[in-house]
Amino acid sequence: MSFRAAWSLVLRKGGLGMRGIHSPGGTAHGKEKMPPYTNYHAQRSYPMPDEPFCTELNAEQQALKEKEKGSWTQLSHAEKVALYRLQFHETFTEMNRRSNEWKTVMGCVFFFFGFTGLLIWWQRVYVFPKKPITLMDEWKAQQLQRILDMKSNPVQGLASRWDYERKEWKK
């Protein structure tokens, strides 16, 4: 319950902060609901949402909407920008801006790698059973000797690296 309250607080803070930073005087100041709470959602793959961004317009904005119904050559540049901002939350450039999120993601990934490492270490100490006989060093040495005796992979593989005259690995 408190987690959800904290999460919506993070969303609200994040949204307000972002809007302030990226558009100094750009976005229209209608009674905009926060993005998660409207039906407006635009992304690069879905650029023309069904509903406009601002649905509650003040008198000035409504007058502009009326003017839009006439000939568009009558509109000034500033009015066109204002209409755009009513319809859309962000321009493509704004929408596609890069962020530093990847650093957070990578940091969390590495953190959990480390945490998992600790867990596995604990498991190695307290959970894993005794090593089977075939993994003991003496057994492994005898196994390797047998493989070299059989001359397995003598052309490019293991036995090709062993010097049979001097009985040591080739340099």
Binding site: H77, R146, D149, M150, K151, P154, V155, Q156, S160, Y164
Partner: protein
């Protein structure tokens, strides 16, 4: 619209341009990879086998193996 006119962007042939770039690139990349494999892996391997078998005495090899005691049917 009285704008400071930007140049009109490329409107057509975008897919064709991308395809040409990638097809040509893919051709050369695969050619390069195949050439690399041939000269870094295949040729050295052929040489290694040729060198090995040039002076290979199978009887001597067998005798060495037999002396180590790995065979069950030839002690």
């Amino acid at each position: 619209m009285a704008s400071s006119s930007l140049t009109k962007p490329q409107m057509r042939g975008l897919l064709a341009k991308r395809l040409r770039f990638h097809i040509v690139g893919a051709f050369f990349v695969s050619l390069g990879v195949a050439a690399f494999y041939k000269f870094a892996v295949a040729e050295p391997r052929k040489k290694a086998y040729a060198d090995f078998y040039r002076t290979y005495d199978s009887i001597k090899d067998f005798e060495e193996m037999r002396k180590t005691g790995i065979f069950q049917s030839a002690k």
